[in-house]
Amino acid sequence: MDIHEYQAKELLTKNNVKILRSTLCHSGDEAYNAAISLNTPVVVVKAQVHAGGRGKAGGVKIAKTPDEAKNITEQMLGMTLVTAQTGKDGKVVHKVLIEEGADIKKELYLSVTIDRRTSNIAFVVSAEGGMEIEEISQKSPEKILTVLINPSNGVKSYHVLKMFLFLGLDKAVYNEFTNFVTLLYNAFLAEDMSMLEINPLIVTGGGNLIPLDAKIALDDNASFRHPYYNDFIDEDEEDPLETKAKSVGLNYIRLNGNVGCMVNGAGLAMATMDTIKEFGAAPANFLDVGGTADSKRVETAFNILLSDKNVKAIFINIFGGIVKCDMVADGVITAAKNIGLELPVVIRLEGTNADKASELLETSGLNFIVGDSLADGARKVSKIVNG
């Protein structure tokens, strides 16, 4: 899960990483008061949305007076920020961070991720701070250094030295840099992060290292040992349907098409979306009803699909393994009857008890269209929505 900059900085503080003083604000008046209490020559107003590239999009602005901080905040709140990472719909700003200004001597890039190929922790650094790392890696990959750290050995001084020399930093900050890298590494493990990106990491005139921005993604799978993950969820940032699905344990992602999809298994769900596209229609969503889907869950899934008003037809593709097809059929029939379903539904059921399921569907008195295979079902549903 992605979290806000202010939440990322809370986590860094908790792990003893020094950050600039800042206050989260929801109104111009709060921003005014925050600027007064920070009492620095300038403050920075930063839109809090789950996306990078805010600076270029007008989501980060400098204010020289508390009045200016108030004005900028009032302009920013409620505006839709479209950045390189938000997609064309953008994100609405609901809160801003008022942060003290900093004396920037140098801007660097530093991120920590998991290297899937080697199962190590990867530190990625570049002296080109403030730029998008994807852009640097395309234009001048030689300006990026990746250092892999085996978690069973931890950070060694030579790892730090390699990064330090590559960044060309002043020897005076070596100790601080060592300490900084170690703190970040420990924070990454302690909080079960899957990504920590600091861009830019600044060197101040006084020779201090400070994360000016911080972006963190947390590993959802580790939420059982970090109860605070739940408090970090910001419903303003989530699609309400995705949140609803998540609360009942369904895996749903909204897309732009008009064929609602209900599939068991993530891989098959993706393959179903791809096949629909191939037959000239577009999937409205990704929905994995999961391995333990019972009638109740299937019914809930059905209701979520129907909440998306773009949906013109539904394609149910179930390969029974753990899920028995007759159970799915039962759920579909119950749900369809309960909500008085009017949209056309193409169903393809394969696997355990498929015959029993077909029989249930055929004798249900409801109008279901049966697909013989994934391709057949996708073809039929695409034909329905394309007329």
């Binding site: 993530a266 891989g267 393959a271 577009a282 394969e350």
Partner: protein
């Protein structure tokens, strides 16, 4: 022949008395799998299904009975501990079905695997099956039929889709392995491709990948450089948007990397026969077998 498991394989079930564990143990027994023991802490000394001895620890089970493979149904919170317990007990094959293990926990599992004699499949996978001989996992057994094609996949149900086609097309299967959908897994495609290339019964391999990571690309390098048998590839997630986790924790496109089109391009260049959609996997294999 087949790889890793056959009808003689003696299997241990970790988490045998749990809901998932007990349900699937019965299914595996029905299929003919030789399940010889189970482990559930504090249930040691009892019998599962009136026949299978249950022990408190893997070490205890191993000192009493010969074990070739273990399958893990333990909840995510304890699963990495169960895997490491199996590695330290020197079980040759470890199949972890559990979904939702934190990535950082899997990093310590990978450290424990390095230099050990164990091969690990999963986590977050359907398991492994050698058709008509031994099923260690949660896949529906009845779709499998002994034949000549191997299947390797990051997915669950999409694998069943492929297997069903291979069976219906009369090709049948040797061994099918779901390697798991997480960012860090016990063994990648590469490990098993090498085994299948050396398995005399396997005549071709179906490789089902998905968005995220780079293991399909690495596997295709091996296909190009070392494999004589045809490999048919499919990648799920052509329509997946960037930055969204598509069910599997490992299925995410980040920073424009790990897209389906990028993977397909590299696989095709390396001589993998691409199935354009999941419905033509068997068809593509039939054509590929003729060409080889």
């Amino acid at each position: 022949m087949s790889i890793l498991i056959n009808k003689k394989t003696s299997v241990l079930v970790q988490g045998i008395t749990g809901k998932e564990g007990s349900f699937h143990t019965l299914k595996c027994l029905e299929y003919g799998t030789k399940i010889v023991a189970g482990v559930t802490p504090f249930k040691g000394g009892s019998l599962f299904n009136d026949a299978i001895p249950v022990f408190n620890t893997v070490a205890e089970a191993k000192s009493n009975i010969k074990i070739d493979a273990t399958v893990i149904f333990v909840p995510a919170v304890f699963a990495s501990s169960s895997v490491i317990e199996a590695i330290e007990s020197e079980i040759p094959l470890i199949v972890c079905i559990t979904e939702g293990i934190p990535t950082i926990d899997m990093m310590s599992v990978k450290s424990a695997l390095r230099g050990s004699g164990s091969v690990m499949i999963g986590p977050n996978c359907p398991g492994i099956i050698t058709a008509d001989e031994c099923k260690i996992g949660i896949m529906p057994g009845f779709i499998h039929k002994k034949g000549k094609i191997a299947v390797l996949s990051r997915s669950g149900t999409l694998t069943y889709e492929a297997v069903n086609q291979l069976t219906n097309a009369g090709l049948g299967e040797t061994t099918c392995i779901g390697i798991g959908g997480d960012p860090i897994i016990g063994s990648s495609f590469l490990t098993f491709l090498k085994m299948f290339e050396n398995d005399p019964e396997t005549e071709g391999v179906v490789l089902i990948g998905e968005i995220g990571g780079t293991q399909e690309e690495e596997a295709s390098e091996y296909v190009k450089n070392y494999m004589k048998k045809p490999v048919v590839g499919f990648i799920a997630g052509k329509t997946a948007p960037e930055g969204k986790r598509m069910g599997h924790a490992g299925a995410i496109i980040s920073g424009g990397k790990g897209t389906a089109s990028e993977k397909l391009k590299i696989m095709e260049k390396n001589g993998v026969h691409i199935a354009e959609n999941p419905s033509v996997i068997a068809e593509t294999m039939i054509k590929a077998l003729k060409k080889h």
